[in-house]
Amino acid sequence: MDSVAHLDSPPAEDWTVDELMIAVLASCFTDGDQACNGMASFLPVAAFQLAKLTHAPDLIWLAGAVGLEPRPGPIPASTLEAPLWRDALMYTEQYGDFWTLALNGRWLKKFCVGAAQLDRFGNANNSFIGDDFHAPKVRLPGTAGLADMGSVGKALYYWNPNHNPRSLVAEVDFISCAGYLGGGDERERLGLSGGPELVVTNLCVLDFEPETKHMRLRSVHPGVTVEQVLEATGFEPVLPPGDVPTTAEPTAEQVRLIREVIDPHGMRRREFRRR
């Protein structure tokens, strides 16, 4: 989270958790990275723009995996419709261009993932809830590109605006995006590089313990207790030695940029309202 510390701006006096989550996600992207977003990805889209306006002016954004370096207006109601990639430098055709760039391995190395179910080893499920694929309790939208991104060497950054025992589970009902699978070196043994890096929720930030690849509590957001996190989590995350750090607050400048420049219509809050 340090990469925004250099910003010559004090902590915001009034921030909301959506803004804190955006600041945390923004801190994961730096100059030289390329970032892309899919459907209904208001927090990542806000984070990419915040990074570009602050510590990472040379971050490249492929809006909707379509429009290269657009001149974004206020975040529109869809993150996969044309208004998002206004004045783009290039339209990347999705088959010939985008997926070739994404599969190549040298570009688009980081990917933000929203998952209906996420388990202790960072495996994600957007396919179905239940025990029978063909007679599911709940049919989820489907994994689409996420089923690729989990297996082709990307660093995965999960965001979850609704941290609860149903969305953070011990074991997903179905692995539709490969995390660390059974943990340890199972992912490596399959020849897969990359993997889950961070989980940013409305309560805390988690990462993965290097040996076991088990999800680990990295910091709790200001005002949130470790107990609240444990209650809201469907498994016991690894706890850091000593006190659990507190997530850095967004700066006044970050909050101003989010509210006045990036997302004046407050689209980012839709991800929370949907719950």
Partner: protein, 295 residues
């Protein structure tokens, strides 16, 4: 060149019960909705829909009982949430879903288009999507590299796409905009191709911008002029998605009765596309959508 111009009814009659139908659609974008409504009116049954991301088109086909299979990446109306009629049909077992990653769907269609038995991808390795799918299997690299996932060729019976303009010979153009793979690969993979278009123009109009022509007429079986043919989905740059219409559908989809009434009003009721557009708000509403006033 052979004339391919047809009516919606003639074009839809090229789709048979049980067909595997590749449908252009990306959540709230670019679906050939006029064709979809015609298929529902003609009461097609047991269709398998192939989509990248199916939206309201798939929800309607599920609600009307026209489909029993879905092959693709996802079904979602993005900001308007899950496709509830489709979702319930899958949960009740009435619709069977083959869930593919994006590279896997593109590999299956690409192999079908190029008459290859399979194409490989490195996506999905480690997920549960491979074992449950008879059309996916791990294969070794004959050169000693890492294994890959072989994706079996998929040849849809028919592809349905919408376009900005075409001539009566079926040469199809797209305006500069996001070009999803379905316009490129679905028609080349499918046995038959049906195109709806905002405007039928003289071939000379196409010759002015040959780089914008995306399909040659000789692979197209029927082309139908249908202005606003993608409504209520967006068709950039011409018009945005109809948010109010989508929200009305989402509300109706909550109950069988309201669903039936909605389909009566917008699908079964209107005698033709013009009457549909009137029901959907007519010229004034379309003018708003052309200004991307989607709310």
């Amino acid at each position: 060149m052979q004339v391919k111009q047809a009516t919606l009814a003639e074009a839809a009659s090229l789709v048979s019960d049980g067909d595997v139908v590749a449908l252009q659609n990306m959540a709230t974008q670019a679906a050939p909705m006029a064709l979809v409504r015609e298929l529902i009116r003609q009461e097609r049954k047991n269709l398998a829909l192939v989509c990248l991301v199916g939206g309201i088109a798939v929800d309607w086909l599920a609600a009307a009982g026209c489909m029993d299979r879905f092959i693709g990446n996802a079904v979602s109306m993005e900001q308007f949430g899950l496709a509830q009629r489709y979702r319930r049909a899958v949960e009740s077992g009435r619709i069977r879903m083959e869930e593919l990653s994006e590279t896997a769907l593109l590999a299956r269609l690409g192999a079908g288009a190029r008459n290859l038995p399979f194409l490989p991808t490195r996506g999905m390795i480690g997920t549960d999507l491979i074992d449950i799918n008879e059309n996916l299997t791990m294969v070794e690299d004959p050169f000693g590299g890492p294994p890959v996932v072989a994706c079996r060729a998929l040849v849809p019976d028919v592809a349905l796409v919408h376009s900005h303009r075409a001539d009566r010979y079926g040469n199809v153009q797209y305006e500069p905009t996001a070009r999803w793979p379905d316009i490129g690969i679905m028609p080349m993979a499918a046995r038959r191709v049906i195109v709806t278009t905002e405007q039928i123009v003289d071939s000379d109009v196409l010759r002015a911008n040959p780089d914008r022509t995306v399909l040659p007429g000789f692979i197209v079986d029927a082309v139908v002029e249908v202005p606003w043919g993608a409504h209520p989905t967006s068709f950039n740059p011409l018009y945005g998605y109809d948010a109010a219409f989508h929200l009305a559908w989402v509300a109706a989809a909550r109950s069988d009765e309201a669903t039936g009434e909605f389909l009566d009003t917008y699908v079964y009721g209107p005698a033709d596309h013009e009457e549909y557009l009137d029901a959907a708000g007519g010229a004034d509403r379309m003018a708003q959508l052309a200004r991307w006033e989607t709310g």
